[in-house]
């Protein structure tokens, strides 16, 4: 097993650790203690989870690679005017979604047309983005970096800027053996950081491991969830990674065709990738365009808001019948997917190091 950080870095992190411990001592999660393990970045994947799609086979996860990826994730130099970093729209406390923003803000205040998704357990994703257009975690960052309304940069200029930074030359040397900065190394380091964003310490996970139990409301919600939601939001990752039209009225100002944008197939119109529901309590607003701000609104949509169309998912043709109490219980269950350890893990935070 490789150590997550060097002894020097541990010293730097000790302050943060105590701070976290102080804050988290009131947390309900019994796993959070002052002895947060900072020594090991390698995941301990829970029993019963499927095999990840991306397993670092050709990009070994190392402390130095993770460190470089971490620095790049928080680096505004990735944008053309050095104002926007990945973390601008992917905030740790929001499960690396962007709190309270329906659309992402890019350079010069430009607006995108989709909601920034949460980033967690990405190694199980067979493809990325709401429309699934990206087929490998390593090349995912090329999309926001080059998108004119996000970071508006070119890959070659990012490499140029990084190679002129002594900080980055050192980080690249630590990670890859010499100071050469190139896009492949940059992307592989980012993949190490993004791929190491594991969330598997929620109350749901504790219950699953037999270390905690649901309240009555949570249990009733879980039972309803399994009956009415889990065919698409498949446990334990809470997504089937399929593309589905869940009956949202098309926003005619944007006309986002969804999956069809990638496949050019009419049968894929208005379909979007099923999102994971992990940390859903913290990653509002919801849906591919962030149109809903509460979980109540989301459930109401499935109860009474489904708009019929040729590509509507057949499972939703009649909506989902839920009483007011059912909704309350389902929301109680959904809140057990909140993983406080993930949301506050100092290794992922901007202030780490």
């Amino acid at each position: 097993m490789k150590r997550f950080i060097t002894p020097l870095q541990i010293k730097k992190a000790i302050g943060m650790t105590f701070l976290s411990a102080l804050v988290l001592s009131c947390s309900v999660d019994p796993e959070i203690t002052p002895t947060v393990n900072l020594d090991n970045i390698q995941p301990v994947i829970p029993d019963g989870w499927p095999t990840p799609v991306y397993n670092f086979e050709n990009n070994p996860l190392t402390p130095a690679g993770f460190d470089l990826g971490h620095a790049l994730f928080y680096e505004p130099m990735l944008s053309v005017d050095n104002t926007v970093s990945c973390s601008s729209c992917h905030q740790q406390f929001a499960a690396f979604a962007q709190a309270d923003h329906d659309f992402s803000h890019g350079i010069n205040g430009l607006l995108g047309k989709r909601n920034a998704p949460a980033l967690q357990n990405l190694n199980w994703n067979p493809y990325f983005m709401h429309d699934g257009g990206i087929n490998n975690i390593e090349v995912q960052p090329t999309a926001p970096i080059t998108n004119p309304v996000e970071m508006g940069e070119t890959i070659s200029n990012v490499v140029f800027k990084l190679s002129n930074s002594s900080k980055y030359r050192t980080l690249f040397k630590n990670a890859f053996g010499d100071e050469t900065v190139n896009s492949q190394r940059m992307l592989k380091a980012l993949a190490q950081f993004m791929g190491a964003l594991y969330s598997y310490n929620s109350k749901y996970d504790q219950v699953r491991a037999g270390k905690a139990s649901f309240t009555a409301a949570e249990q009733q919600g879980y039972t309803l969830f399994q009956q009415k939601c889990a065919s698409c939001h498949v446990e334990p990752l809470f997504s089937d990674y399929q593309f589905r039209n869940n009956g949202l009225a098309v926003n005619t100002f944007i006309n986002d065709s969804g999956r069809a944008h990638i496949t050019q197939l009419p049968a894929d119109l208005w379909k979007f990738k099923t999102p994971s529901l992990r940390n859903i309590e913290k990653s509002k607003p919801y849906m591919h365009d962030g149109r809903f701000t509460t979980l109540d609104q989301c459930l109401d949509h499935y109860v009474s808001g489904i708009v019929s169309s040729a590509t509507l998912d057949p499972q939703l043709a009649s909506g989902i019948a839920l009483s007011s109490q059912d909704k309350t219980n389902i929301i109680a269950f959904l809140k057990t997917l909140t993983d406080t350890k993930f949301l506050t893990d100092v290794r992922y935070s901007e202030n780490y190091k």
Binding site: V139, I155, S156
Partner: protein, 269 residues
């Protein structure tokens, strides 16, 4: 850097093994090499190299970017400002049926970059080769296996970030007949799988054998004719087809056209 190291390793390995490996045929399953020209004395190292010298042309006339006017098969006139394509997966074969491929061969030919017009192929087992095969574009594997480098570096501007995959061939220019408001021509041809794939395999016989030894480096002179993009079997009218930037029927039709754009003009031993 990594490629260089890999190459060095491969080279050293072959050098160390010397004649034994190739002659015993265990590594390559090669038949005995054909006799060399009298002037060539084989040395202890039995691999050599060859150069493919690419001439991009339009209707047989050398391509000049930015200024020269050309005419397509539909009689539309046009100017080319950018012309780039991937030339990959080389395979050389002898008349005896022996075939050799480099561990990897990915070249980005860019008309604006003269050094990219000479494709060095090295580590070739000594033999007399009678034909070459290659691919226009980047194979599916390299489109789906994450961050690449060298010719395949996404920084080269031949990569779709929003719908992962390489732009296999890119032609940008202008035409008075273009249906575009600004009279632009924008052909970014990509798509590595499915019905609209623009990958094309090419096989060309050498007019005379390319005789590769450790000291003897043949030069393969090749033409790539831009006019073929718009000619047969699908005549392209710039009035209706002037911008192709996604994987679709137009992209596929142009790929069907450019599949035969390469010709070998001579092999100089």
């Amino acid at each position: 850097m990594r490629m260089k190291k890999q190459f060095l390793k491969t080279y050293l390995f072959i050098f160390a093994c010397g004649l034994a490996v190739v002659v015993s045929c265990k590594k390559y399953h090669a038949p005995a090499p054909e006799p060399m020209p009298a002037a060539v004395t084989p040395g202890p190292d039995t691999t050599g190299s060859l150069d493919i010298v690419m001439s991009n042309v339009v209707n047989g006339v050398p391509l000049v970017l930015g200024t020269q006017k050309y005419t397509n098969a539909n009689s539309d006139t046009f100017i080319v400002n950018t012309y780039k394509y991937y030339f990959t997966n080389i395979r050389l074969t002898t008349s005896g049926g022996y075939a050799w491929s480099p561990a990897e061969s990915y070249y980005l030919v860019d008309q604006s970059n003269p050094s990219s017009l000479i494709l060095h192929v090295s580590g070739i087992p000594r033999a007399s080769y009678s034909s070459i095969e290659f691919m226009i574009g980047v194979d599916k594997n390299r489109n789906t296996s994450g961050a690449q480098t060298g010719a395949l570096d996404p920084a080269n501007g031949m990569f779709w970030s929003w719908n992962t995959g390489y732009i296999m061939a890119k032609l940008e220019g202008t035409s008075p007949q273009s249906g575009d408001n600004y009279k632009k021509l924008t052909f970014h041809l990509g798509g590595f799988s499915g019905a609209f794939s623009v990958l094309r395999s090419v096989q060309l016989p050498f007019p005379n054998a390319a005789q590769v030894t450790e000291t003897h480096k043949p030069q393969v002179n090749m033409n790539c004719d831009v006019a073929e993009w718009f000619k047969t079997p699908n005549t392209i009218s710039f009035g209706t087809v002037y911008g192709v930037t996604t994987s679709n029927t137009n992209a596929k039709n142009i790929a069907d056209n450019y599949a035969d754009m390469f010709t070998i003009t001579s092999v100089v031993n």
